[in-house]
Each structure stands twice: as structure tokens, then as C-alpha cells.
């Protein structure tokens, strides 16, 4: 460790394999917060300290500290859970986490508003149904996402099993999580080691996705590490491996940028874990530990060069990459409604706005999912678009499930394509990084866009719109056909030119617009799109053909208007 390394590196090193002083922070009654160092360590245990930013000043005036609460994100590889697990997840949300939960863009669920003294109960609660939150956040491999493809059930099973194995293989080995939250025992003897991570873990977060073409709902190119399943006659034959994708950027800093993952090559299934581990350890050893803004794998690859990086990974994994197979993606959204799988089971994709489930006294999505989980015997799959699939429903139960879904407003019917495909991040008031509104404002924005589209005779333009409160990219905005990225209160950068299937980054079109400016620009764009588009031409493709934005030559061009 040199003097110039980022302070977080010292915190990790001193934490004694992620213990820190969490225990002391938890029993400190005087504050709802953790000690500053523990707020870094807690992320590895799956939770983050947040506070209601709307309340900060008022509370300070009242001699009260900020309204601290915690966001806890579970690990749920591939987003699959059983109805029994769902009922437990739901109950904990209602009792211990401000009566709500959220489905995330990484196929997991997260709770907001957990008070410090309830963290232990939440973690113990999910543990009772065999779910943990290890690495929900922090500088380790995060929840592994995987296409929930319900149709090809045996292929999904096979691929999903790999997602789980990758997740398990890349889990931290420290017993800190169990010690602190579960059995409380410190196992005697033996120095603890992290064979993959070492005592300072990774320089930054690390995201892994598994895609099953032709669906790119996981936005595989937005991940540090991606596995694209190659199947033959419904059986998995291997993966195309891609690496170095990532969304985050800093406004005005051209050394930071969103980036699509590069192909490394094709591997056989039994090489998967070795390759995953090799990519992780290469990033561990070559990643930037001085500047967290440049610590993601994408910058490591930019610095090393793709060929050198690929060679290093191959050497460490003891394999050779074959030439990547040809793949074709057709979409990045979810397919709503019923579909029938090859095994004759039915699968219903529900629509959940912003993945947000709130316990309301009346019927609502949260209650609806609870009712469904009570009668359902298959499984439930959270999608990377924050929706939920009720999977493996026998013909005989279709009507009952559909009835419940309709009653509780869980069906996509009646929602426009625009709405079904949109994603917004949480942003204000909870997220400490947010510079502008996102989730709270998004439904209004979509109303406005729909109104404008109608004016130009576009009944339901199915463009992919995403919105984030800051440039870090939780809703993967840089892959949308149209994106708004928060710049300051009420101000956004307008991005255009994604391809609607998640394989092309968009580009800055207008900077720092207020609401009126945004709507004027969108109005004009939709007008031109309505008048000039070719048949079947998507909005993102149109703006590029029309020369409104250029396709990007280098990632750092994101910032250029």
C-alpha cells in the first residue's frame, strides 16, 4: 500500500476481512448512523447508509441528526426465488423496511428505510429463507444477472446454474458476515484468507451478467464481465466472454466514460469459473487503487490494451480463447404477458413501475404479488428491467393467477410500450449521489412524452427511455435510445442514439436542459422522427441516420455534444 492509494484501500485493509468496527457501530444508540469507516465496510455486507436528503436542513435546525436509514440489497443470482422466499421477502419489507421493497435492475430486491437497530432482524429474516446480502454492494462481484428466459426451460436451468456457480465462486470467503449477523461465533484458529480477493478486495465494484440471445435484457455489454450463452438444439455449448463494460462517468471529466464490453473469445462451459476468476484477479492486480473514478475494469482494459488483457486472463485461467461465435440480439426489454414454454408450462411477465412495491392499505402490486405467491407452486423471477415473471404455471392455474394479477394492477395491458420499457433509478431523496430527480419524476415525464408523441401522430413509439439522477448509470442510461442524466436540480443532459437492443452507446445531444428545454427538444425530435423515419426504423437508429448525433468512435466522446 503506497501513500497515494485511495483512503478506501486503507479502510478495507484495516477492516480485518470486512469486520471493521461494525459491531460497535450497531450498538451505538446515540446515532442512527455508522462510523464513517464502517459505512464503507457495510457495503460488502450488502447495505448502504442513506438519509432523507429532503429532511437534512430541517432536522439540523431541530438539533436532530440526518434521518439515517439503510438500504439493503440482497444477493439473488439470476433473480430466481421461490414463492416461500417471496413471502418472507415481502413480510420483512412490510415490517422492518418502511413498508416497501424494490426490484432492482440487477435482478435482486432491495429494502430502503431500514433503521440501524433493525438491520440484524432483516438479515436474519432473509437468511431464514436461504438468501443473503453478501456483496450486495462493495468492491466485489455483485449479484450475477442472468436472462430469466422462461421459454427454453432446460436451457435456462442450465445457464442459471452457471450464474449461481459464478456468484458462489466469486463470493468473499471471510466469515465476517456470519459472525456479525447470524451465528455470532468467531471460529477459532486459522488465519483468514481471501484466495481470490486478498485483504483489500477489488479496487471497485464488479458486475457480471449472463445473456441468452436473442434477448439482451441483462444489457450484457454494460457489465465488467459478460457471458453470452451459445446453445445448440436447446443445449448449452459454451459462452462468448466479453469484458470491460460499465456505465458510470463523471460529468465533464473526459477521462471517465461509459463503455461497452469487448469480446475476449469463446469458451466451453467447464472453463467458466476459471475465466471468471482470472478476470477478477487480473482486475485485482492491475486495477487502479488510487482513483476510484478510474478503478473499474473498463479503465484497466483501456490502459492495458485489450490484447494484453486477454492474454493475461488466458494465462491465469490456463485456457485459450476460441473465436467468438456469432450472436444476434433483438431486444433489451421484457416480454410482457403470458408465454408458453417448451415444457408446456406458462409464464406471466408482470409490469411493475420502477420496480417499486409499496404496502398500501388497498389492493396494490405488493399485495397482489403476495396473493400470487400464496397459491403459486413454480418460481418467481425478477427481470433486469425491474419486473417480475411468474414462472412455471400449469395450465390449470393460469386463470387464477391472471385474475389476481389483473385485480392488483400487475398486468402490462393498458401501459404503453414507452412505459413498459422505461427504467429510472431511485435518486432523490434517498440516494446520496443523486443530483436531480429520477424515479419520482419519471412517470410525469413519460406522460409528457406520450402527449407530444400523440401530437405528431405517434400512437405508442416503443423507444427505450431511461433516466438517472446522476451520471453513475444505475438505470444503464447510456444504452437507451433516449436518456436523461441528472446534472443538477431540475437539469438534465439529453442523450440520444442507443439501438434499442443494448449494443450501442448513446451520445450527448444537449446539455443541462431544464424541463421546458427538454420538452421542446423532445417535441422537435419526435416531430422529425414521425415525418422522416423509414419503415420499422427505431428512434435510436433514426437519430443517427439523420445525423443528429454521431455513432461514437471512442468511449470518451460521450461528453462531446
Amino acid at each position: 500500500m503506497t501513500a497515494t492509494t485511495h483512503p478506501n484501500e486503507g479502510i478495507k485493509l484495516r477492516s480485518n476481512f470486512l469486520r471493521g468496527t461494525l459491531r460497535e457501530s450497531l450498538v451505538d444508540e446515540l446515532t442512527g448512523a455508522m462510523s464513517p469507516e464502517d459505512t464503507q465496510i457495510s457495503k460488502f455486507h450488502g447495505f448502504y447508509q442513506q438519509d432523507d436528503r429532503d429532511q437534512r436542513q430541517t432536522r439540523r435546525d431541530r438539533f436532530l441528526e440526518p434521518d439515517y436509514a439503510f438500504m439493503l440489497r440482497a444477493r439473488l443470482p439470476g433473480g430466481v426465488c421461490t414463492p416461500t422466499q417471496w413471502l418472507a421477502i415481502d413480510g420483512i419489507g412490510r415490517e422492518l423496511a418502511a413498508g416497501s421493497l424494490r426490484l432492482t435492475t440487477r435482478q435482486s430486491f432491495q429494502y430502503h428505510g431500514i433503521l440501524k437497530h433493525r438491520l440484524e432482524a432483516v438479515i436474519r429474516g432473509i437468511n431464514q429463507v436461504m438468501i443473503d446480502s453478501i456483496g450486495g454492494c462493495g468492491d466485489v462481484n455483485r449479484n450475477v444477472v442472468c436472462n430469466p428466459n422462461p421459454i427454453e426451460s432446460s436451457l435456462h436451468q442450465e445457464v442459471h446454474a452457471w450464474a449461481q456457480r459464478i456468484s458462489e465462486h466469486l463470493l468473499p470467503r471471510t466469515r465476517a458476515y456470519h459472525e456479525l449477523w447470524l451465528d455470532g461465533e468467531r471460529v477459532a484458529g486459522g488465519e483468514e484468507v481471501e484466495p481470490i480477493y486478498g485483504p483489500t478486495y477489488l479496487p471497485r465494484k464488479f458486475k457480471t451478467a449472463v445473456a441468452v440471445p436473442p434477448h439482451n435484457d441483462v444489457d450484457v455489454y454494460a457489465n465488467d464481465l459478460g457471458f453470452i450463452a451459445i446453445a445448440k438444439a436447446g443445449r448449452l455449448v459454451g459462452f462468448n466472454v466479453v469484458a470491460g463494460g460499465g456505465m458510470g462517468a463523471t460529468h465533464g471529466d473526459p477521462t471517465t466514460f461509459p463503455r461497452l464490453a469487448d469480446p475476449l473469445g469463446f469458451i466451453a462451459p467447464d472453463q467458466t469459473l476459471a475465466v471468471a476468476e482470472a478476470v477478477v484477479t487480473t482486475q485485482r492486480d492491475f486495477g487502479d487503487r488510487v482513483s476510484r473514478q478510474h478503478a473499474r475494469l473498463k479503465y484497466t482494459i483501456e490502459r492495458m490494451g485489450l490484447a494484453a488483457f486477454r492474454d493475461e486472463v488466458a494465462r491465469r485461467a490456463g485456457i485459450r480463447f476460441a473465436r467468438p461465435r456469432r450472436v444476434r440480439f433483438t431486444d433489451q426489454g421484457d416480454r410482457y404477458g403470458w408465454v408458453k414454454g417448451v415444457d408446456d408450462h406458462w409464464h406471466l411477465t408482470l409490469y411493475i413501475e420502477n420496480g417499486r412495491l409499496v404496502d398500501t392499505p388497498r389492493q396494490g402490486p405488493m399485495a397482489g404479488l403476495r396473493e400470487i405467491a400464496r397459491i403459486h407452486h413454480g418460481d418467481l423471477r425478477i427481470t433486469p428491467n425491474q419486473n417480475l415473471v411468474v414462472a412455471r404455471v400449469p395450465e390449470a392455474q393460469r386463470a387464477d393467477i391472471e385474475h389476481l394479477a389483473r385485480d392488483h394492477g400487475l398486468l402490462a395491458e393498458g401501459h404503453s410500450m414507452l412505459r413498459r420499457q422505461g427504467i429510472a433509478c431511485v435518486a432523490l431523496p434517498t440516494c446520496p449521489l443523486a443530483m436531480a430527480e429520477a424515479e419520482r419524476y419519471f412517470p410525469d415525464l413519460l406522460d409528457q412524452i406520450e402527449r407530444l408523441a400523440k401530437r405528431h401522430g405517434l400512437e405508442d413509439p416503443g423507444l427505450v427511455v431511461r433516466m438517472t439522477g446522476c451520471p453513475n448509470g444505475c438505470a444503464r442510461p447510456y444504452l437507451a435510445e433516449l436518456a436523461l442524466i441528472g446534472k443538477g436540480p431540475g437539469r438534465y443532459n439529453l442523450m440520444l442514439g442507443g439501438d434499442g437492443i443494448g449494443t450501442r452507446l448513446n451520445h450527448l445531444f444537449r446539455e443541462n436542459l431544464d424541463e421546458a428545454g427538454l420538452l421542446a427538444e423532445i417535441d422537435q425530435l419526435l416531430g422529425r422522427y414521425a415525418a422522416e423515419r423509414h419503415a420499422d426504423e427505431g428512434f435510436g437508429d433514426f437519430v443517427i441516420r439523420a445525423g443528429l448525433v454521431r455513432p461514437m468512435a471512442r468511449p470518451s466522446e460521450t461528453h462531446d455534444a
Partner: protein
Amino acid sequence: MALPQRNPVTSPFDEPQWRAVQSLLEDLSPAQMAWVSGYLAGLARVEPAPAAEPPAAEPITILYGSQTGNAKSVAERLGARALEQGLAASVLGMADYHPRKLAKERWVLLVVSTHGEGEPPENAHALHSFVHDAQAPRLERLRYAVLALGDSSYEHFCRTGQEFDQRLADLGAQRLMPLQCCDLDFQAEAKRWSDGALERLSELTTRRASNVVALPGLYRPAPRAHDRDNPFAATLLENRQITTADAIADVRHLALEIDPRAVRFQPGDALGVWFRNDPNLVAVLLDQLGLDGDSPVRLDDEESSLHQALSERLELTRLHPKTLSGWAPRASGPDLAELAADGARVRDWIATRQFIDLVTAYPAAIEAQDLAALLPPLTPRLYSIASSQAAFEDEVHLTVSLVRSATAGAERLGGATGFLCERLARGASVGVYVVENPGFRLPEDGSTPVILIGAGTGVAPYRAFLQQRAAHGDSGRNWLIFGNRHFRRDFLYQLDWLGHRDAGRLNRVSLAFSRDGAERRYVQHRLRDEGTELYRWLEEGAHLYVCGGTAMGQAVHAALLEAIAAAAGRDAAAASDYVDNLRHDGRYHRDLY
């Protein structure tokens, strides 16, 4: 008291002597100072010693048991007058008096208030239990009189005074005068009783030329000190809510500007606040009763308009049982008469209602003067001071919970809290005076550990304590045990406590938020949980403070006994002795209301 600087040229003292004089005088009240100056003047005159001693004047002891300072002020005034008349009177707080001396006394006057649910005030505890003990000595020599202060809206009106009066008689002592009970408007009756007592003592005791010289003007030093009858006009600087909008209680932090030369207080002291009734309430009342606000009324031989009397002189928001029983015959219908006849129901009824509710529920006609006579006089309210002059010399901070109820359908605000929190504008002035609370002071030695137990606004004096300890750089450890309803909504002064802890001053904190968990937990539960640590602190000499409601004080007391018994491995009687010793050593301080 602010003492003048020593002038090195003209002063008869050298520096060490002057420091000694200063330290002696520092904590004296104006009346004590006046007495000392007379005493010293007398000493200086007694030379050379006369050949034959005049017959010794018989000592007269005036004891007060006081919570809010009223009994103390009556006793001090009485003592000063006795001295003026050449009686050898000394005035003592009951806690400063050695109970066994009682058996040797001949002349004792007691002025004592009753507290909460018929309990003796904090500083009367030891004497009260001494005389009530089965082993109490016979007091055949003793002649005494008791002045009892109380509030007749409580069930056990003047009970402590009655108990002293009866018990001393049972022990063989003789009354000089019958027991006198006084209600909230005690001034006139207390004066009459004092006159009578002085007259009786002048007749019966040996008097002599006093060896204390009465120095004219010194009993009323000019400018006159600010007290209940001569309040200081403080200016409101700040009024902010310190609980969240969704909290059950609306608690305000008020900062008042004072002149530090005119108003001095110590952490633990209270501030008496004169308030004005809500002008809307007065208007509604006049309207409902069909009375003209300009009608003249007489109050204590002073004439004023009815409007002014209702605004500034008469109690409108605390409904008194006497008001209810006086109203009953005027109102038609049997309901009210029936209610008025049942004491328990009356207390229940008035607990959540104001005079306007009575008038609305049972309309009746009344003349202006009769109304003025029916309503009790407005009395100032006391609030524990939440700041130290070592930190804010020219400010007084108060922590006030706005009383707001809607029992009778309409929203009613508390008289004083409504005035302070809702009607007093920033920059406007309010009459205040300091009420000393000598039984609730920080230990003199700054290295002594303290345990501070408070619930709700009972935490106010501890803010003052810690400000003072911070300003003085005291090294003593501090342990705060605080309870309220919700951590996020009403953790009063949380940022202050965090700041003190970051500065290494708040060494331990135990909290109980009753509505946060499934079961209701209060400070007394924390005390039981942490009995071992509590006992360790006490064994290390810690002082224990309890501030809050009476019920909380009782619960804490019970928990304290249990915790000590458990931690020390002793029985209940031994734990009780232990706590009695704490009290006796001046290490168990309570401020309950």
C-alpha cells in the same frame, strides 16, 4: 451574584482574603447576604466584650421544604423580618437541617409545600421520614407552627404540611398556631400567617438587643433583585420546534435574551415565566358570557378592566375545582351539580378542560366582579433552564412542550406554553425570574462523575449541565439516560449530545424510546438493565440526577432500588438504606413535576 472587583488601593483586604470573601459570598441569596452584612456589622460592634452577658436570646429555627422556591421565599422573608425584630431566627432548607436536632429545639416554624401526588418536596424528604419513623424521638419541648403551600386542584392538597403538623403534635410538640394551608394565591395568607407567628414569638420568647444590625435598604438591595413580583423583561430571540412534524409532542427550543448583570442562574435552576392569556380566548369568553371587557373589576384592592384582568391576572387555562363548584349553582340542570359533588370525577373532568369548556358545556350568567372572584389568580409557570451562563451568558434557553388538546371538540392550547410557543413574537418581551433549585446542582468538584436521568423535556437541565462542564473543562464522567417516544422524532438535542460525545465528554448514553419497539420501554428499564454499571458509578462517587414527571420519578426510584439490590447482592432494606445515604450525602438529586 456578580461581585464587584477589589480595588487594591482602597480595599481593607489583601488578595487572598478577598478571594476567601468572594468564595464565601458566591452562592448566597440576596436575603442571606443581607443577613450576613447585618451579622458582621453586629460582630464589629461587640467590642470590647461586655462584662456581663445579656440573657441569651432563644434560637428560633425556620425550616422550609420547597420545590419551586415559593416556600423558600416565604421562609426567607419571615426570617429577615424576625431578625429585624431582634429574634434569633435562622432560616434553613430542610435538607440542610440535621433531623435529630429537632428534639432539642424549642421554637420551630415550618413552611412546606406539597408535591405531585401528595409527596414532600425533594429537600423535605429526610426530615419528613425522620419524624414519621416509628423510632422518632418525643418532642415535648417543641413549640411549632406549620404553613402549608399547595394547589387545591390536586387531590392531596397541602398533604405534606398537614402531615408535619399532625405528626409533631403526636410526638408531643405544641402548636403555636393552627395549621395554615395556602392555595396557589398564597401571598396574602402567608403574610398574615407570618405576622401572627412573629407576634406569638415576640410574646413568648426571650428577646434581646440583636447582635445583628438591621441595615436599612439592604433587605431590598437597589436595584431590587428580580423575583416573582419583580420579573425581568426578557426578549424572545428564538423559537424553534425541535421535534419532527410527525412527532406526538411539539417541543420548542426557546432562547430568551437577558441582562447578565440583572439575571444570574446556575444549571439546575428554573425560570419563572409570567404569561398573558390568549386574546382570542378572552374575546370568546367575554362574548359567550355577554360581558363588557371594559367593566371595572377589583382584584387584591387594585382596580382594572375585566379585559385586562382576564388577559393578565386571572387563570383561564387551568380549570380549578373551586371554579367548577362555584359555577355549578349558576348553571341550570342537575348534571353539573352532580359532577361537582364527585371529587374524583371533577379531577378527571378538569384535567383536560379549560374554563371556556365549562362555560360552553354549562352556560350561565355571571357579573364581571363575580367572575373575577371565581377565577384563581394567574400564576407564573416554571421551566427548567436548558442553558448555562458559562456558555450563553446573556441568554436563557427553555425546552417547552406545547400543550395542545382537543378533548372538548375545539383545540385548546396551554396558557403559558401557548403564549411562549405560539403567541410571543420574536423580539417581544416576557416577564421572567430565576427560581433557584439548590437541590439540583452539579457537584462542586468537577471531577465527580454524574448520572443524568431524564425523560421528555426533563432532559433540559442536563443540556445546561454539560454546557457548564464543557465551559469549565471539568473532567468528571457524564452518563446520560434519556427516554422519549421515538428516536427519529423526539430525541431532544441529539446533536448536542453527539457533540459532547465527540469531545469526549459524554462517556455513556442509555436511551429508551417507548414507541420504537414492540414493547414499551422507559428509562427505568434501562436502569435495571444497566444496574451493574450504575452501581459501579455510584460506588465511584457519582451523583445521580432525576428530572421529569412525578410518575417517572417514582418508577426510576423503584428501579434504582432494584438495580442496587441486584448489583450489590443485597436485600431491599439494604438497597433502601443505600439510597437514603445517597440522598443524605446530597448525591441523589430530583427535580420532578
